[in-house]
Every structure is written in C-alpha cells, then in structure tokens.
C-alpha cells in the first residue's frame, strides 16, 4: 500500500514526507527513510512515473561540466586568468584555452583580458575538490563588451531561457537587446537604447520572481508589450 502524500508541483520543505511505501523511488533532492521518501531541500515536486524528484527554488550555482557561464576576471597569473564564477569557488582559464591567437612568452596578459572584464566561457573540468577549469575556444565564447550584468537566482536560469530559448528570444525580439544568460546566474544585457536595456532587465527580474508559476510566457509577452508600447 503505497501512498503519495503531496501533489505534483507542490512546494515542499526539508524533512517533509513525500510518499509512503516502497512503490515510489527517491530522485534528486530526496532520500528514503525507512518506508518514507523525505525531501532534502526546499523545492517543487516533480513526479515522473515512480520517481519523485525536487526542482530546487533557491541555492548557489554548483559548477558542472559543459555549462556555459559568465565569469569576471579577478586576478592574472603567469599562465592564465583567475575568474569569479558566482559560486563558492573561483575558476581558472589558462592562456591556451583563452584565445585562439598566439600569446608570446612574457606578454602582458592584460592586453587580452584585464581585471574586472566579463567573459563568456564554458566549464571543461570540475574536480572533486571543485577546482574549475574554463575554456573560451568555442564559437560564441568571448569577452563581453559594454552592456550591463545582472545577478539572478541560478536556480531560475532555466525559466529565463525557456523551452529551447523561447523566453530569452522573446525578450530579445521585443526589446531589441543582446542578452547572454550564464548558467551561473549572471545575465548580460546590452542594447544601443538605454531604456530598452532597463526594460529587458525588468522582464528578467519578473521572470525570476514568478518562475515557479505557470503560464509565464504569456505574462511576460503582455508585460513587454505594455512597457514597449509607449515608444518605437
């Protein structure tokens, strides 16, 4: 006799029992205690078949192989750059992974990236001790010039991007902005028009705040139409 104690998409807190009996399986964010499945963090319930997992609502970014993130240069070493990636650990971009152009021995690295620059990079290695290596040798990975950086809850990034990028392309189309969303919760917004940048930022903030609610695309579309309606 197995029984679900919660509903799909319900918000649960740590220690809350999600299901009773051995017919359900604990997924990410949950564990089994005797015959119960218990939540291990604050999150939204997602039931797929027999497995129960939690979609986190808050928390720091944990670096993962293959993530495309936005990083800020904090220091320069002999052979590369140390960058802040908006988590508990800093990351490293070595000289050879940073640009395709040839860097001479003893060259001044600030010529390429200076302290304070924002870069778009990809995680290529994460060790058990969370030493993170990044690369920029891939199309679309470069230094971010101009624009603004805003910080959002990293757990809300999938909603900002939307299904196959639908949400972010909606904002791009409506506001005429260039937007780059890093998996680590940094968003870069740039536009020739200052007001549009602000509107795009507002939209991103709104998505962040209402990420756990349904029907978000329509809400944002109306929101953007309203804000952009006044001009053009």
């Amino acid at each position: 006799m197995s029984k679900l104690l919660i509903k799909e998409k319900e918000i649960v807190v740590p220690g809350e029992a999600l299901a009773e009996g051995m017919d359900y399986l604990p997924g990410t964010g949950t564990y089994r205690l005797n015959d119960k499945i218990i939540a291990k963090r604050l999150g939204l319930v997602n039931i797929s078949g027999r497995a129960i997992k939690l979609v986190p609502l808050s928390g720091r970014y944990l670096p993962k192989f293959g993530d495309k993130i936005i990083a800020k240069v904090t220091d320069i070493t002999m052979n590369g750059w140390i960058v802040n990636i908006n988590t508990a650990y800093s990351a490293f971009i070595s000289m050879r992974d940073a640009t395709s152009s040839f860097i001479k021995k003893g060259d001044d690295l600030t010529k390429y990236f200076d302290i304070g620059d924002y870069l778009r990079a990809k995680v290529v290695n994460v060790t058990s001790q969370r030493l993170v290596d990044l690369t920029m040798k891939e199309p679309g990975l470069n230094k971010l010039r101009g624009g603004r950086i805003i910080k959002i809850n990293p757990q809300k990034v999938p909603r900002i991007i939307g299904k196959e990028g639908s949400m972010v392309s909606l904002i791009k189309k409506k506001t005429n902005c260039n937007i780059v969303v890093g998996q680590n919760g940094l968003v870069w917004i740039s536009s020739e028009n200052f007001d549009n940048e602000l509107i795009a930022e507002k939209a991103v903030r709104k998505i962040e705040q209402e990420a756990h609610l349904g029907g978000l695309t329509d809400v944002i579309e109306k929101f953007l139409d309203k804000l952009m309606g006044g001009k053009k």
């Binding site: 807190v13 740590p14 220690g15 029992a17 119960k36 963090r41 609502l57 808050s58 508990a88 609610l213």
Partner: protein
Amino acid sequence: MTYKKRLDGRDWEETRPIEAKAGNIPNADGSAFFRIGKTTAYAAVYGPRDLFPRFLKNPKKGLLRCFYNMMPFSGMGDRVRPGASRRSKEISMVMQKSLEPIVDLSEWPNAVVDVFVELTETDAGSRCAAICAAAIALADAGITMKDMVSAVAIGKVDDKLVVDLDYQEEAYEDGPVADIPVAMLHNTQEISLLQMDGEMTREELIKALELAKKITAQIYEVQKKALKDRFAQGTEKPKVSGISKGDDKNG
C-alpha cells in the same frame, strides 16, 4: 505547590504565540524571522561561499558557522553590551552543534555557510528561537538538509512541568525552577540540543522530553508554513504565518 496558574495565564502545555516568516532579508541567500512571545530572532544565511581564514577549510565537506547576537536594546531594560560575550559564544556553538546533524555540505568542500542570528527583543527562550529561525533560513537558502530542526524550552516551575518559559517564570522566586532547551529533528525525533539549568528527577526529565516531542512538532508546522507561504501563488513577498493569536502587525 504554590504555582497553581501560569503567570501569564497560559495553559501548562501552551507555547506563547508564534510567528514565522521566510525570505525577509532580500540581500541574504536565505533569511527568516521567528518570534515566540516577546522573543524575536532574525536569521540571515550567506553561502556556500569561500572560507577565510584558510586554516578553517575542510577539504572533505563545507563548514557551518553560526553567530548569535543580542542587540543592545533587546534585554529587559538593561543595555546588553554589544559584541561577543562568553554567553553569546556558547550559544553560537550550541546552535552550530544542533544544526550540523541536519545540513549536508558534502557537495561544498572548502566552503562555508554562515548563519547570522540577531535578536531584537528577548524574553527567555532566545537560543530556541535562534535555532528555529536559523533552520528556516537555511532551508530558504536552498541548503541540502536531511531534516528540519525545531526547538523549545521545557521547564519546571515549582512542581509543575511547563512549556516555553518566559523571563517571569525563569525568575520565579517561590520555588525551584528548571529550564531545558531542547532541539529535535522532525522525522527521527533525535535530539540535537539538550541543556539544563536547575534540577529535575529522572522521571520528570523523561516526561519533559515527551512533551518536547509534542511541542516541537507544532513548531515544525509553523516553520513549514512560513517556507511555503514565501512562494504562495502570485507573489514571492513573504507573509507572516503563525499559530495562536498571531497579530499581523508585521505583515
């Protein structure tokens, strides 16, 4: 035998009104407000983040650090001297020990999670309020936790077992007073904090712990509600939630 009725008119097994709220400090990664009677605790959680000084780093798992502080105006009329004291250091330590069994920081080697608890108003039971607030704030910060922890003080005034003593009762003069702050995990009912001030017999202690089970379960419900209300339909603005006569002046 002279203690026939509680000084503030509560039942023997009744706590003071409890209110709780999550996410009230936007700048923090997680935050909470917890008030029981006239004891008010604000907790803010930062991290996981880089840890300094470096010798504290643990390459196996992240560190949990707690800071308990009473504000200068929080006492019963006397100014509380600001800064760390022997007492606040001890309470920071017992808080840390009572929260450590539930938080799982194995994903965050070398990092730290800082929990700051400020008490704006105190009327006994402040370490229990601090632990309750810290537990909500940790959950709000999205830290992996295997359980929730709730704390309450059980005591004996004269010959009566009472729940959640206030300062008046702690200072009761016509008989012996004992006071036991207890923190309990919700699912396993393991005890993660147990201190005692005063004297009690073995039988009374067992009774007191049974009582603690019942009361911490009630407090867990308040903590749970505070976290759920944070994400209530339509807004992410925190709402006050509580049990018994919780007035909405903080709403």
